[in-house]
Amino acid sequence: MQFVAVSIIGCFGLRPRNDIRFLAIPCISVYTLHIGVPMSEIDLTRLHPVLDSYIPLGRSGLLPALHAAQRLYGWLPQEAAAEVARSLKVPLADVHGVIEFYSLFYNEPVGKRIIRVCTDPACALKGADGLLHHLCSHHGIEPNATTSDLSLTIEASPCLGLCEHAPAALVDDKAETNIDLEAGSYELGRPKSIVDGSLRLLTAHCGNGTTSLAKYGEYAALKKALTMKPEDVIAEIKSAGLVGRGGAAFPTGVKWEGAAKADGAPKYVVCNADESEPGTFKDRVLLLDDPHRTIEGMCIAAHAIGATKGYIYVRGEYPYIVPALENALTEAREAGYLGERFDIEVRLGAGAYICGEETALFESIEGKRGFPRVKPPFPTTNGLFDQPTVINNVETLCNVPLIITEGAAGYRRIGTEKSPGPKLFCVSGDVAKPGLYEVPFGVTLRELLEMAGGPSTEGLDKERLDPPLRANETDRIQGVLFGGAAGAFATSAHLDVKLTFEDLRAAGLPLGSGVVMVFNETRDLRDVLKRLGKFFAHESCGKCYPCQMGTQRQMEILDRIAAGNVLDGDMRRLQDVGWTMTDASLCGLGQTAAGAVLSAIKLWPELFVER
């Protein structure tokens, strides 16, 4: 059937794209809603003064503007969304697309108060499902619903990064931790930091509230770096052997060198604080307790590559970090560390794990849906706003002042030859003392778990165990989720593996973001896998087919297995989906979305067949 549209493409479609642009007929504004929005009680006059400050940012101001509008109205009515579109000159459909992408933006009315209960593995071990059920039945609503008087919304949430205080929730913008239904106790507000380990270098100022600049002291490492040539700073980072701590372990100095040599100005330094990997909470502790270490690291990076602007992209589930961070930035500006030469802006995400992928994070800062970009080109040449960019994880940046102060040789005295430096591990699950542990690379998993008090016996049906479990019996663990949801399972057979990049690689375990989540002998690993499956299906951006459909199919099969309704061939289905995601997905999310499942199939094939 022939049709005019087909012929338009037929005539023009095969020409270079510049030619078909002649077809563009800019006849009506795409930023303004002409018809269709009913007049309602939404008072836009309150919005205008708020939006004024975002207008100069253009599309890049979209997420901050939507956050601001949502703070005003409690949700994002279409009149307000249209006003944001008009002010920032973003097409209406695009604004809607952005609202729809981020799970913390609401395009329909929600409760005045929103409680998000984490139901991911670490919290699930401590009774998150019961908590959610109790809350919902108390208020007479289902999970992910709102009371009829719009006073309360209760949601099941992906990991909130409060794993050492499980079970946990986010109540509006406050962390609610260590919720104990039986005792009726909980802590609300700034989450406490539990910091321990055999080293206190990166965490020197952590564990006692936010460290002010006065207490942090002058930026001595920055002062020293400013006396060095940029290329010498980069050489120092390179010879220190620092690699990224966000999960990809890319050599930091090589990244900096690439951005330093790339043509183009301005250049950017971006701090990736979109920590969302289930089980990970180190960046939360570092930023909340010691923001100046990260800021100083960013200033040194800026000097090394010649950047004039920096961003700290904080995950939307950490709103309580922002005031501490803004305050620290003000202190740094007043002290002259930030200013005309280099300044930093804080950006708050809005509920999207994928924005921890570096190029998706750029898209998000640019005011778009967090779709990862095709690489190459890489961020060092074509990063934020298509400019040369260095993007580093919080923990990576926290290593930088240490390296400059101690010198590469001094830094290398910590850790092993191939994995120099200190490392933070987020220990959670069935251990006596969950928390953030700083150790040198090279301690064994057993040593780390023993620092954390060994496997916890709390809540165990000890009678079922033979012989009964005593505290500190580290060998009596069923499994450890290593590296987070995107990681892999280890067993007690791995307890004497040294925690270094080289030893873990040999053992087939990813270091990832430093997650060590412990499951004792009584835990149903099928339930853990089901939650990991749900997590990835919820967080896939939907761009590439293997991950968009693969995470859904993986979740469906894992749901079946957890419910005991295994179908013939389910294990093979999981493997085909898993290998396809790993091999053919566009970004790191899809490439690792089956890692834990595939590792569990290897370790415990019996979990995937009929019981």
Binding site: M1, F3, V4, A5, V6, I8, I9, G10, F12, G13, L14, R17, I20, L23, A24, I25, P26, V30, L33, H34, I35, Q78, A81, A82, P91, L92, A93, D94, V95, H96, G97, E100, F101, S103, N107, R369, V374, A537, H538, S540, C541, G542, K543, C544, Y545, P546, Q548, M549, G550, T551, Q552, R553, E556, R560, R573, W579, T580, D583, A584, L586
Partner: protein
């Protein structure tokens, strides 16, 4: 400048800058595509064109990876076939492919089974019939993005449509689901022209498929029957 590389063991020479897909097509090697279209920016999202490149850890999308001197490419290795077959099987368990004959042919070629994933939740939605020109049947949409791209800066600069939802629940949509006439859509038809699966379809074609006669459609659209141009007589 010409470069030489190997594809499926055969040495081939092509102009530098060509993608592996271009190079394969120039040399008569078949690499399947779904989201690729000559007139739109390649986003490498369907991953059906992935190939194995020696030295690369992961499969590479042929639509955007450029051929390079000395490269060794396998277009039908075991890994490639497994990925393509699984993607096709997942597509069949997700959406209605009845108007996508090319994909059904691919499924035959790769031995992909439409019922590989039992009990799978399908993406189903009601047909959106809200304008005189085209219908939107997102049960047939495989999210190739081409309609969004031609509506935006790949062609028309109309920006009437974008995405709704995320992940598996992604769908193409307008601002707060407004009907097409209430959007900036100029009914240019570019999106219909690039849709590979019949998710976007000329309304007339849709109505004919629904069993309406041309006469009935004419009455429906203009309130009167069509007249023959030559004789002025009413057509049959």
């Amino acid at each position: 400048m010409t470069i030489t590389f190997s594809m499926d063991g055969k040495e081939i020479s092509v102009e530098q800058g060509l993608t592996l897909l271009d190079a394969a097509r120039e040399n008569g090697t078949d690499i399947p595509t779904i989201c690729f279209h000559e007139a739109t920016t390649s986003n490498a999202l369907c991953r059906i064109c992935v190939v194995e490149v020696e030295g690369m850890r992961l499969l590479q999308p042929a639509c955007i990876v450029q051929a390079a001197e000395g490269m060794k490419v396998q277009t039908r290795s075991e890994r490639v076939v497994r990925a393509r077959k699984t993607i096709l099987e997942m597509l069949a368990s997700t959406l209605d492919l009845s108007d996508a004959p090319e994909i059904l042919t691919l499924m035959d070629q790769y031995g992909a089974k439409a019922d590989r994933f039992p009990e799978a939740e399908r993406r189903e939605s009601a047909v959106k019939d809200d304008n005189p020109m085209y219908i939107r049947d997102y049960s047939k949409c495989l999210l190739c993005w081409r309609c969004v791209q031609v509506c935006a800066d790949d062609a028309q600069y109309t920006f009437a449509i974008n995405f709704e939802g995320r992940g598996y629940e992604t769908q193409i949509g307008t601002f707060f689901d407004h009907a097409i006439p209430e959007t900036t859509c100029v009914l240019c038809g570019q999106c219909v022209g690039v849709c590979p699966t019949g998710a976007l379809k000329p309304k007339r074609e849709y109505l004919l498929e629904q069993g309406l006669s041309p006469q009935e459609i004419s009455v429906m659209n203009t309130g009167r029957k069509r007249r023959s141009k030559v004789t002025g007589q009413k057509s049959e």
